[in-house]
Symmetry: C2
Subunit: 225 residues, 2 copies
């Protein structure tokens, strides 16, 4: 797949390296490619326009507060029909979310209706994104987006990062990006509590054979009702 | 322990039944105890004033949008010195959070500075709250609060619900309640995606022996930087 990653920060470089190693044709898009060329390592750094023009999948790994302006400057026609994998979250200076009432993912989908926006990976540190097997157990990565085929494309890209099909949870439409982005407000205190940004989040379901203890709990809850 | 639970809804009743079964002296506090007496089952329903007066620990299990008004009506002196375990989250009519920029937990701590507010359990369905062993694996419950001894009290109450010490993660001060409450925006789409509100959330740490694959991922990320 031809992947154009917007942003040459830690996240963009980690994803670029991993997808390049998996055999994809990857470029990093920068507003100042001459200045940032060295940051790409094995991955070419080109202009943001060039990164988008050649891409089947555009990845938004720019700061969440700058993403809309950058994409708008490229123009809706340049993005039309493409899959836009949005992994960004915007923060205010005081650590709040820059989209408190909704999400960046929704904002981008609204601004670019002919682009197929998929939100994923934004609940994870960059190294966990590309090495889920480094965790001590299975963990969950989320998908949000209105277009099923675009989500299938992102599933394949997640698989190439090491995420098993079982670990991918499709939350539904792009409105559910809100939950992924707001998780940032829990991510940071968890990271501080455990002393590492490198952790995953596993959705743990009810035991298959709902246990006696659960029946007892249910009975206790009902008896108190 | 003497526990006064404000609210006779599903959550208050489930917690009341479970702590009563564990040997605590529990009452449910209602604004209309005559009308709601039958809802308590084995747990007495009393007025909100009486529930608070007799309690070592007050549990806020009222709707998050009504909590501040209710507690204010009881008066700060009635709550002074007590532990207030806040398990509520406030939602707007359109499914957003009623405290989008911060959290109910912080609001309550600010309104009642002589009360020791601890936020916990609000990331979980009521039956998972009282039966964590019903899940197919270990999961995490969070603590937020400014007073360490109040958090120790809540730890004991969590233990009595079945939460092992390993499963309790202290996030820090009450400001971290924000993360717990905002998780609601992810909780709901996850529940819809898996078809059940009964799930837990496990924080999955990096493997103890950081694996070769992780070293490779780190190397790949660095080589792209």
């Amino acid at each position: 797949m031809r992947i154009g990653i917007l942003g040459t920060g830690n996240v963009g470089r980690a994803l670029g390296g991993a997808w390049s190693a998996a055999g994809h044709e990857v470029v990093l898009g920068s507003r100042k490619p001459d200045e940032t060329a060295a940051r790409g390592g094995n991955v070419p750094v080109v202009s943001t326009q060039a990164a988008v023009a050649s891409a089947d999948v555009v990845v938004n790994a720019t700061p969440g507060t700058a993403s809309l302006d950058l994409l708008t400057s490229l123009g809706a026609p340049a993005l039309a029909g493409k899959v836009l994998l949005d992994v960004a979250v915007g923060f205010t200076d005081d650590g709040g979310l820059s989209h408190p009432g909704e999400s960046l993912g929704e904002e981008l989908q609204r601004a670019f209706p002919d682009t197929r926006v998929v939100k994923s990976l934004c609940t994870l540190d960059r190294l966990v994104m590309i090495a889920p097997e480094s965790l001590e157990g299975p963990s969950t990565v989320f998908l949000s987006g209105d277009d099923p085929t675009a989500k299938d494309t992102v599933r394949r890209l997640l698989h190439d990062l090491g995420w098993s099909p079982d670990s991918v949870l499709d939350l539904g439409g792009i409105a559910t990006a809100r939950g992924q982005e707001h998780f940032s407000l829990l991510f940071i205190p968890v990271a501080q509590a455990i002393g590492s940004y490198r952790f995953g989040l596993q959705v743990v379901k009810l035991s298959d054979d709902v246990t006696e203890s659960y029946e007892q709990a249910q009975a206790a809850a009902e008896s108190a009702s």
